[in-house]
Symmetry: C2
Subunit: 463 residues, 2 copies
């Protein structure tokens, strides 16, 4: 089933509550339709690790009763949601894509997952992640071509949304684990400002975050906002700002094309599609700024030119201690790519790590310096469409990377900057996303710009 953005219908939830209120539909029926899609598509897509069907039905029935009493808890009451299997859930194990965590029952909800339940959402299951959220892939396939990767590490979350199994899944990103798979699977997705959505127990990285994969911008925003309104952000962070309903569209006046170090590696057809898309925006009155247009932009591009190595090294140092525990308990049972990261970390000194943090801060300052120049950065969300399963081209030395290259995503991760990807492009029958990147804490503003692009711009197809 080749992807054509002109007729692709993703699953939405925001239009359902009026039907629930009118008695024309119920959260239970909505859930059953999701389960039917899962039954039909899951054998090929393999997006789920665990499904809690009975728990979900019971939660959906409770939601149905609330709607019949005219008392839904929030805009997302009754919404079936999948949770990336790195995140703690009280009713399902958290296996983290590793046989070493098989049957790992934490018996608790991560703060944001508890917040989802308090908002009435229906936690349906856990979605496949790569091994510990790193490079080694799980079994999930791309919903638009089962010979291709769904991306990672939020593989199952991106694929479940792409296949229309659920309207929303929760993902996580340290480097490129939300935006890249969302690009490959035709999702809308939000990687928020660093700290803006409460990571609960998963605070091990200084640039990791929870985010949202969705079939629509409306649902994406409401889920992010409902989580943050309850559980806030990380300890010490002000949390995501904005109301629970997606705000009105806002036309960008100026957008800066971010190339990043990935630009020379971009697939030619994807580049053509992106340039056709930005040409279209210029015709609509949006000024498109490029690195040759300003020394500030050129300085920013130079500042982010080491973002991938920096992200890899910072993350390796930060995960060393938990990996050492694991390797000691289970020698020989860690993947080659994860051992590669551990070896990298073992060679690093604290002063090297400190110098990487300083370089990251410089990068962030270069980005802030662009704040007054344009509404946002715009770029491709991935180098091109999803590569074939098992293709490790573009991997780091010693760290095989089989879910696509995250190089287009490392800048916004290191910048701690809010990023939304939109499924606006198709290349040879596969989806490719366009990403908007804003200044820290401007997540709601990025969502308004994204809404304008979605409503006003035409998708671009390149065969």
């Amino acid at each position: 089933m080749a992807y054509d953005p002109r007729d692709h219908q993703s699953l939405t939830f925001f239009d359902a509550p009026p039907r629930f209120a009118a008695g024309a539909d119920t959260p239970r029926d909505y859930l059953e339709r999701c389960l039917a899609v899962i039954q039909s598509r899951e054998p090929a897509v393999k997006a789920w690790v665990t499904l809690n069907v009975e728990g979900a039905r019971s939660a959906a029935d409770a939601s149905t009763r609330r709607y019949s009493e005219g008392k839904p808890l929030s805009r997302i009451d009754g919404m079936p949601i999948g949770i990336k299997d790195l995140i703690y859930t009280k009713d399902m194990p958290t296996e983290m894509g590793s046989p070493l965590y098989k049957g790992n029952h934490t018996n608790q909800d991560s703060a944001s997952i508890r917040a989802l339940r308090e908002a009435g959402a229906v936690v349906l299951g856990k979605t496949v992640t790569t091994e510990l959220g790193m490079s080694h892939p799980g079994p999930t396939t791309n919903p638009f071509d089962s010979s291709r990767t769904p991306g990672g590490s939020s593989s199952g979350s991106a694929a479940a949304v792409g296949a229309g199994m659920v309207p929303v899944c929760i993902g996580t990103q340290v480097v490129g684990s939300i935006i890249r798979p969302a690009s490959f699977c035709a999702n809308y997705a939000l990687k928020p400002t660093y700290g803006a959505i409460n990571r609960g127990e998963r605070q091990g990285f200084s640039q990791s975050q929870f985010g949202v994969h969705a079939g629509s911008l409306e649902d994406l925003w409401s889920v992010a906002a409902e989580m943050a309104a309850r559980a806030g952000g990380d300890p010490g962070s002000p949390g995501l700002y904005g109301p629970s309903q997606l705000e009105p569209a806002c036309q960008p006046s100026r957008l800066i094309v971010m190339e990043g170090e990935g630009w020379p590696l971009v697939d030619d057809r994807a580049r053509k599609a992106f340039e056709t898309f930005t040409d279209q925006l210029e015709e609509m009155g949006v000024r498109i700024l490029r690195r040759r247009d300003s020394p500030l932009i050129e300085a920013f591009e130079r500042a982010i030119s080491q973002a991938s190595a920096l992200s890899r090294d910072i993350s390796a140092f930060e995960m060393r201690w938990s990996l050492e525990n694991l390797v000691e308990r289970h020698p020989g049972e860690i993947s080659e790519s994860l051992m590669g990261r551990l070896e990298l970390a073992r060679k690093m000194t604290l002063d090297e790590y400190r110098s990487f943090l300083t370089a990251r801060e410089s990068m962030q300052r270069s980005h802030m310096a662009l704040g007054g120049m344009a509404d946002a950065l715009i770029s491709l969300s991935s180098l091109g469409p999803a590569p074939l399963m098992g293709d490790i081209a573009g991997s780091d030395p010693g760290i095989p990377h089989a879910t696509g290259n995250p190089i287009m995503n490392t800048p916004s991760s290191a910048l701690w900057a809010p990023t939304i990807t939109l499924p606006m492009l198709a290349v040879a029958g596969m989806p490719v996303g366009v990403q908007l990147i804003g200044q820290q804490h401007q997540d709601a503003r990025v969502a308004r710009l994204a809404r304008w692009l979605r409503d006003q711009a035409r998708p671009v197809l390149v065969s």
Copy 2:
């Protein structure tokens, strides 16, 4: 055994390695002497939850071999250390002062504990904490008067060091959980700059930190530095700066007396002892600045006048989600004081929390404005000597607090400022600490000032 700082001998380790190298002593013998003190004092003091005697003996023997080969791993190779029972250890359960975590085996070392082992330290056991590190007390008694509290939440760590059972224990502090018990138990203790010592999995609070209780400044500093040199600070933090050996003493030129909101509540005898101490410093050429001496100091005092309520509320909001999980699984099994904190959190909104964060930032700015005015702040480390067990005077409304009032500690916690307490005072035969508080990341500088006070100033006794 009344406390007299003039003849109190605390247990030191820094002087042992030369004896180990000369063959006049061994880490195993050092450990056996610690075990003998534990055997004699533990029935009354009750500092330990778990002792891993065989594991410690085996680690001490390995250390003994390294010294005999002339290859110790660090300055703390062979040092027996106790770990507060909130922190993960691979070889002992982590019970967190709560029956709900009885037998909770995490099977992993927290990053800093693993770093201790890599430095050759001998992890001897887990020390008593209050319930989840909050207010509800454990069984530990004060080593200088068993009718009195050791303070909390690092109750067992402070008491074990105070009783000379071990030269060093690791503690944690969110509000006043290291410095206050150290004051009550005649410890030297360091609460470092926020983030400077890697908290591993315990990153749930935006002002919690790991710290060190010790019988000497030398051991205090080496343990902190050896942990940080390996595991660094929290993800994204540069970690503790400084060499592994305590640097030379540095005479303060100017010190600012910090009163804080606790000043009117200070025990009269403790106030007299503190003023005698600062008078002595003035005679030695240290200029002592007070709030009437500068509008900047007065502004700072006004800024920190809400530190206790702010710390309580920020922490309550941040712990709400993990508490909700616990209460749901174990209804009715949480202490009154912890339920009081949960009720407080449930009433708070995200915008209230954000406003508290903003107020805390203002407080920090007021402190930074004093950076050029003096070498450090100086104050009492507690309102006075340890209160009687069960005395809940000074508790927050609805939150009984039976390990002493942390009000002298809330400012430096909220300021994220490095703090060292020294056992320089005695009031009616019980220890009381004097604390020095520096600017963020100036931990090593505070240690040098503390060393000068210890070496040059005389302890003060008030009966």
